[in-house]
Structures are given as C-alpha cells and as structure tokens.
Symmetry: C2
Subunit: 318 residues, 2 copies
C-alpha cells in the first residue's frame, strides 16, 4: 500500500453512474478542477450529463471555480473499465438496487488500480451489504452526498465490516480537500444520519397526505415559512436549545419533555432518561462551543432575516 | 355579533403569558404598530419581557417597523383581567400544561370583550380539549407560532369542535394582516402540521443520541450542511420532486419508493398506494405552479448559494 496516492494529490476522478446524483458529482469535481471520467449505461447518458453540467455551471461559477476548472476536463468513457482504469478515486452513483450495486462495485473493484478508494453514493445500503462480491473490499466506503452534490456540502463517510480504517480516513480527507463538509461516522446505521432525519419528516408527510390531514402545499409551506428558516444556521438540536430560553436545552427538556409522549407524530419518542437528557444538554454545550443562548439567539435572528431575504430575492426574480 | 371588529381595524392586542413565545408575540405586535398589553404571573416577568423586546428590536428594526411602531406601546398589566379587558384580540402563550390552559382560557374568555377572538399559541393541545371550560368557546382558536414569533412567519390556525368558522377565518385574516404566513387547517391534528414534521426529526434525533448512533453535533451539522440548506425555498415535498430529475415526483416515487420500506428511520412509512402516489405527484404540480423541474432546479441552486452566503456572513461576524 506504499504506492497509495495522498488525498491532496488526486487529479483523476471517475464517476460511475451519471444520473441526477452521479452527474451532480461530475459537476462538482469539474468545478473543483479535477479531470473527470464518467460512465453510465444509459444510451442518452452523455447528452443528459452534458445538460446537467451545463445547468449547474452558472451556479458553480458564481460560487467560484478552482484553478484550472473546466467543463473540457470531462471524458465520457465507453465502458466502466475504461472509466475507472486510471482513476485515483472512484465515486459510484448507480440506482438504489442492491443487486446492481453488488455487481457494479465488484466490477469497479476489479478494474480500478490497487489502493484506489472506491466510494458509493448509496442513500441507504450499508457498505457491509454492498462490498460482498469485491476482491479487495477493504478500500470500499460509503460517501453519501445530498442533492445537488455540486452545491450541498454534506458527505457522510462510513465503512462496512470489511472496509479498513485507512480507507474511511482517506475518503474523509479527500472529500474535505474536494470542498465537502464531511461527517465521518463510527458505526454503520441504516440511512446514515441526515437521511434518517429527513426520512422521518418525509414519512410523516406521506402519512399526513395519505390521511388527508394536510396537503403537499401545506406541508411544504409549513417548513419554508417555519422551521426551515432556522435550520440552515442551527440544526434541530441547537434550535430547541434556544427554545429553552435562557435555560437552554435543560430547560427545554424539562418544560417540553412531556410532549414527547404526545401523539404529535407517528414516531414514538425514546424514554427521556437522565442519561439521554444529560447527553442532549452536554451535546448542545459542545455544539454551541459554550456560546450563551442570548448570543445564539442574536445570531439566529440575523440568520433568519438573511435567509428570508435570500429566498425573497429568488422568488422575486422568478 | 354585529359589533365584531374587522381584522384590519384591530389596534389593541393582549398577550397572556410573556415567556419566550409570549414575549416573542409582544415584540412582533409592537413592531407591527399595535398597542400591546401583556400579563404574566412570574414575579420577574416585566424585566424578562423588556429584555426580550430589547434583544429582538434590532432585528425587527432591520426588517422594517410598521408606522407608529414603538416599544413605548407596551403596557404590562397587573392582572389578567386588566390585560384583556379592552383587547381587540388576545394571544395566549402559557406553558404547555392542559390544566393551566383550561383555567387560563376560561378566565380570558370571561374577561375579554364579546366577540373578540382568543388565540392560543399551544404547540400541540387541540383546541377541542382546551376550550371545555369557556362560556363562549366559539371564539377560541389555535394560532400556533414558531420560535421566534417575531421573525418566523408561520402561524397555523385551526379551531376546535366548539369553535365557529367565523373565528377561524377572522384569526387567519388578522394574522395575515399582522404580517404572518398563515396555514388555515381544516381539521384538528395533534401537533398541527409543522410540529408533526419537526417532531419526527427531533424524535429520530433523540433515538440516535440515546443509542449512540450520532452525536448532537453530527445531527445538527447533518442538517445545517445538508437538507437544511434546501428547505427554506422548497419544502420536503418539492425537494424530493427535484430529486426525481426531469421526471419529478413521479419518477422519484417509482425510483425511491422501495426505500420507504428500508429501516432508515424508526418511523414506518405508509403504503405507497396508487392514490397516495397520485396525490403526491398532483400536489407537487400544484405547489410548483406547474414550473418545470429544470427551472425549479435553477431556483434551488441560486437559493442554496444565497442561503449558504447568508449563513457564512453570520458565522464570520461571530
């Protein structure tokens, strides 16, 4: 493994699968100045990919391209093997079909140079399940992006049972250098972190529509005019830390704790044990870096105003 | 009921309860130019309220105050009866304790002038449960705000079994005139709409922390660097409409439908029936006003960039 390339030295990236997510990765890596080789089995894949990159480019230009970044650095390969044969990093973004992923990842593993890390965009399959047919499964990790991958910074990195720690660490470092916000997970959890959270919202929304409790439009505007304005600066935990007023999360849990038992969602809450309470309070202290609630409130207020203005600007220009 | 005041003619608003939410309402109504009378039983309520209004005022000034708006228009009353006796609208924001709400709302109902609408900030109790002891329950409605009520536009308006439709309509119109984004619900659902959605996230987050699957910091950053950047412009439904690429929600449901059965959250999904599928597809058509996905994608991209910049600006100034 001495020949392993340093994450910061990577120039050639292969993207296998070029739909909305794979194509989004292509756009991201091009904008960050990489040489990108893409492959997708769809007959119209090349045209679709070019349209997607064209559509993304103004946004990427606006955000600032890396030195040497160019749409010309994209090659659409004729075969998967051509796409990954000289890659220094591979990102797989095939449809969510386990059999397909098993097959594709083993082919990528067979064709990619030794020691090159292979990352899957899967939105939910554990790598443990997907790496079964690979000859060198230790270099496979999940690198789960969010749509669109060329704009949303988050990538969740986690290995499977046969993944080695160096591969997880390498991928986390590479994504960080490639301009992403990385969450390196210690354990495999189905759906990772952000998808579990947004899937909980999504499923509750589907239940509400199925039961005639709310319309799609009401659900969406309840978020865009409500909690959605708070979440870009503070996540759900720190948001509720502020809901506790000067007493923060501890006051919040003592005050609203009983509503955890209320039928406010179809999801049952965990028991609010002393241990969970302490973890939440301690976690908010750490996540806020000990910043007093009053300062966080002032920051949130300014952020909500700026976010509302940002959104108004887009709406007005429609 | 002929003497009923028009929502647009209201000048005098009473706020009962002056904690984080009640105080936030006070700040909002003051900024919109109303005369506000507040009451809260806590001995230090007046000081706390004044601190809260002081803290909110810069943000409200930045957003633009209504003509005649002034912090001088606040009166802290000595009794609940003094606070609501001449009110043209009453907003109750007591702690979430049903017995307390039952008592308080009946006292407000007894003391407020005939025909004046009384709205509760409750984050989850159905008005049907809270209006039981009122002599004139027909004028009571839920007007559920989001923290901070002086900034987050959303108010969910819904009546109870004994509420009359005129009161629900009146409250919806009043809140709209008072600068809020109103969702007028047809049916009582525990937790209303936005709280059901954010409660689903919150409970999943608590489960993850309780099980050591993620830390508070990972949960928050998975939202702030991930889906939280998309939600201020497009809610969860339109966000997934875009995840379907050019095929929109119908492609999305056909493609990701199976993952509804995946253990991605502790919340079970509903059966994806043809009827639910059609409602989601049709709902996205309506919510997007038929705007093609490609245009929505361009809007989202610009919104995500603006929102990231807005948040960066706040973070840099810390």
């Amino acid at each position: 493994m001495d020949a392993r390339i340093a994450p910061g030295s990577v120039r050639k990236v292969a993207c296998v699968g070029a739909g909305v997510i794979g194509g989004g990765w292509v756009a991201h890596f091009l904008a960050r100045g990489y040489q990108v080789t893409a492959w997708d089995p769809a007959p119209d894949a090349k045209d679709k990919l070019q349209r997607l990159v064209e559509a993304a480019w103004p946004a990427l230009t606006e955000l600032g391209l890396a030195e040497g970044a160019s749409r010309e650095n994209l090659t659409v390969a004729a075969t998967l093997e051509d796409a990954v044969g000289e890659a220094e990093f591979v990102q797989e973004s095939a449809p969510e079909d386990l059999e397909l992923k098993l097959d594709l990842l083993s082919r990528i593993d067979a064709a990619a140079p030794d020691g090159v890390v292979v990352s899957s965009s899967t939105s939910g399959f554990p790598m443990t399940d997907m790496q079964q047919r690979c000859a060198t499964p230790e270099r496979l990790v999940v690198g789960h992006p969010f749509n669109p991958p060329y704009l949303i910074p988050l990538v969740e990195v986690v290995g499977g049972e046969k993944s080695e720690q160096w591969a997880v660490d390498w991928a986390a470092e590479f994504f960080d250098i490639a301009g992403k916000h990385v969450i390196k997970m210690e354990h495999e959890v189905p759906g990772f972190i952000a998808n579990r959270l947004q899937e909980a919202i999504w499923r509750e929304a589907l239940h509400m529509v199925a039961n005639g409790e709310a319309t799609v439009e009401q659900i969406d505007s309840s978020i865009t005019a409500g909690p959605g304005l708070r979440w870009p600066l503070l996540g759900p935990c720190l948001t509720f830390h502020l809901a506790g007023g000067e007493g923060g999360m501890s006051h919040m849990l003592d005050h609203f704790g009983p509503s955890l038992k209320a039928p406010w969602t179809r999801l049952e809450a965990p028991e609010l044990t002393d241990d969970l309470r302490d973890r939440m309070v301690q976690g908010c202290e750490e996540a806020s870096g000990g910043t007093p609630v009053a300062e966080l409130v002032a920051d949130r207020d300014r952020a909500v105003i700026e976010v509302m203005r940002a959104v108004d600007k887009i709406k007005e220009s429609r």
